[in-house]
């Protein structure tokens, strides 16, 4: 499908009409400005149209401004289905890395205090936080201990000494998704991820030391509420997911749905959209297993954050509390969650798939920490190691996107194109000259994550703001990065 077939709704919203392709149940809407639309590959529009064919879908199939082609859903895809009306759950609408997400930790340190220490800090983080293929965490989760962890998520970590009780308040779902069913998780998934909890992973996963400079503050009042309360404040961002446990759960249920979906009368154009009604034996089983993976991801990020606190405390000879190492928030960007949304004037419980998209609840909505209630949910948008990231806030104007927004910059180049264009070691050197210290488990992988391989994050966040999906609070600049 060519972008010329799109109908312009506003400067930041384009529509694929329901009539564009047989089988579409609703129109598809792409939130982006003309330039970003032009940079999207044609597969984005095909995939958004396919998503519009999901049984039970409500209002629109959506794609966020950082959208790019994926499998099943586009990356940046959002779809809300009504389970009471045959609404389905699809692993291809969530991704294999279930609850891939980002957490942001603030400190009371400033740039002047850490400028000379970035390199040793990054080196110590690289040594202490397992990253890359084959890296194992310090905790091996098996049997009943794994069952408990899959049900409790980050709460399991805090109960076992890996964090503070107040950390939980600042995670989506308080770091513990309800409805996890360990009995729905295969032995293969249990085995595959048993050593990976507390590891960063690879690809676009990272751990980054950042600075919030005064010039990058867009909304001082909200920044202060979120904990950015001094000039040149240091923050730490962690991007990781449910590791191999989640990958195998998604694979298991993709295969299962492929074999049963015809029984439910489902026939979709992309097999990666294989699905089953949520309110069916198959759908409920995946929902229970997926929630286990969501919790494993919360746990994973909590363990990594605990390790980061230890590294900073040892290095500076102060306690994490003295360093003000406080969790700002933890967001998910690969999930399907039951949420209440208004459809034709009535509140309905919908299953909202977000694949490479972030929940962005508006001020006053249930589910936001009390401290942030009047400011909106913190939204963490991870950019490349060269160009920076954003802290944003949810807004009331995001109702049309089921309170969803961007999750990152979005890829512009394929991985192989990026590897041809950039050299990992050269990149490390040039970033070092700019004061950004990088450690990586893979220089080829580093080249794939070069800033030039991604869209302009300022344009992406600007489009999200223009579309009313979220509001920028602070731009965060990279100082040091650990890449998996």
């Amino acid at each position: 499908m060519k972008p010329e077939t799109l109908k312009k709704i506003s400067d930041y919203c384009y529509e694929i009409p329901k009539t564009a392709r047989k089988g579409m149940r609703v129109p598809a809407r792409i939130y982006a400005n003309a330039e970003l639309i032009g940079s999207m590959d044609d597969a984005v529009f095909d995939q958004a149209a396919n998503v519009a064919m999901l049984p039970g879908i409500r209002k629109y199939a959506l794609c966020m401004p950082d959208g790019h082609s994926g499998y099943g859903f586009p990356i940046g895809g959002v779809a809300a289905v009504d389970p009471e009306d045959g609404g389905v759950i699809s692993p291809g609408g969530i991704g294999f890395d279930i609850n891939c997400g980002i957490r942001l930790m603030a400190s009371t340190l400033t740039l002047d205090e850490v400028r000379e220490h970035i390199q040793p800090l990054v080196d110590r983080l690289f040594a202490r936080v397992p990253a890359g293929v084959g890296a194992a965490g310090e905790i091996v989760l098996k049997g009943s201990k794994l069952d408990e962890a899959m049900v409790k998520g980050a709460r399991w970590a805090v109960q076992n000494g890996f964090g503070l009780p107040e950390d939980l308040e600042y995670c989506e779902e308080n770091g513990c998704m309800e409805g996890a069913d360990p009995a729905a998780v295969s032995q293969k998934a249990r085995e595959r991820g048993k050593s990976q909890t507390g590891t960063l992973g690879s690809g676009n996963h990272f751990l980054e030391i950042q600075v919030a400079k005064k010039a990058g503050i867009h909304d001082e009042k909200t920044a202060r509420a979120f904990g950015i309360d001094r000039d040149d404040q240091i923050l730490i961002m962690i991007h990781s997911g449910s590791r191999a446990t989640g990958h195998q759960i998604a694979t298991d249920y993709l295969q299962r749905f492929l074999s049963v979906q015809q029984r439910y009368g489902i026939n979709l154009p992309d097999r990666e959209l294989a699905c089953a009604p949520l309110y069916s034996e198959d759908g409920r089983a995946y929902f229970g297993a997926m929630n286990c993976a969501i919790n494993i991801a919360f746990l994973n990020r909590q363990l990594i954050m605990h390790r980061v606190r230890e590294v900073f405390a040892e290095y500076f000879g102060k306690s994490p509390r003295e360093l003000g190492l406080r969790l700002v928030y933890d967001v998910c960007h690969n999930t399907a969650k039951l949420e209440s949304h208004e459809i034709e004037g009535k509140a309905r419980t919908l299953l909202v798939h977000r694949k490479g998209a972030t929940r962005a609840f508006a001020p006053g909505m249930k589910g936001i920490p009390e401290r942030y209630l009047s400011y909106g949910q913190p939204v963490i948008v991870g950019g490349s190691m060269e160009t920076g990231s954003y802290l944003c806030a949810g807004t009331a104007s995001a109702r049309g996107s089921f309170y969803s927004t961007v999750h990152g910059s979005g890829r512009l180049m394929s991985r192989t194109q990026a590897r041809k264009r950039f050299n990992g070691r050269d990149l490390q050197r040039s970033l070092g000259e700019r004061g950004i210290h990088i450690r990586t488990a893979s220089f080829s992988g580093l080249a794939e994550e070069a800033g030039g391989a991604y869209k302009d994050i300022d344009a992406v966040v600007g489009a999200a703001f223009g579309a009313g999906l979220c509001a920028p609070v602070a731009r965060l600049e990279p100082l040091g990065n650990v890449k998996g």
């Binding site: 595959r192 191999a244 195998q248 492929l258 394929s414 991985r415 192989t416 893979s442 998996g484």
Partner: protein, 143 residues
């Protein structure tokens, strides 16, 4: 060439096209492709321990999917890179099955330089075809 990268299918992930003159060759090629996209230097393993496993699926296409998923399982659960040496594939009225004999090597960060980690085999554009005596598979790996 037993496999090649396909550029125009995906931007965030990696697509390959693997070929073989028999189903058995195709499966070995697909296993080599998986190894080659992950490793900077995908030389054959020197002398790892040998393993064997059997798999069944409803079709030869799903058998290839299951086979690649099995290789990923060893990578993550045992930190083993598995290089299929021989794969005996059989198709019958009730589906397809295989017996695989493979060499393994333990992942060693000092020796193995990874380009990417593969998380999963996707069903996006996944296909296995037999045309003019050549088996061809298109596979998109999630990385």
């Amino acid at each position: 060439m037993p496999f090649e990268l396909v550029e125009d299918i995906t931007s965030a992930d990696i697509a390959v096209r693997a070929t073989g003159r028999s189903a058995a060759e195709l499966f070995v090629s697909a296993g080599e492709a998986l190894r080659a996209i992950m490793l900077q230097d995908p030389r054959r393993p020197a002398a790892g321990a040998e393993i064997s496993f059997e798999l069944n699926a409803a079709s030869i296409e799903m058998l290839l999917f299951t086979f690649l998923d099995e290789l990923l399982f060893y990578k993550d659960s045992e930190a083993l890179l598995v290089s299929p040496a021989t794969v005996d594939v059989e198709e019958g009225p009730d589906g397809a099955s295989l017996q695989c004999r493979a060499l393994t090597e333990r992942i060693d960060p000092a020796m193995h330089r990874f380009i990417v980690d593969v998380k999963a085999v996707t069903m996006h554009r996944f296909s296995v075809r037999l045309e003019k005596g050549v088996w061809t598979a298109t596979i998109v790996f999630d990385v």
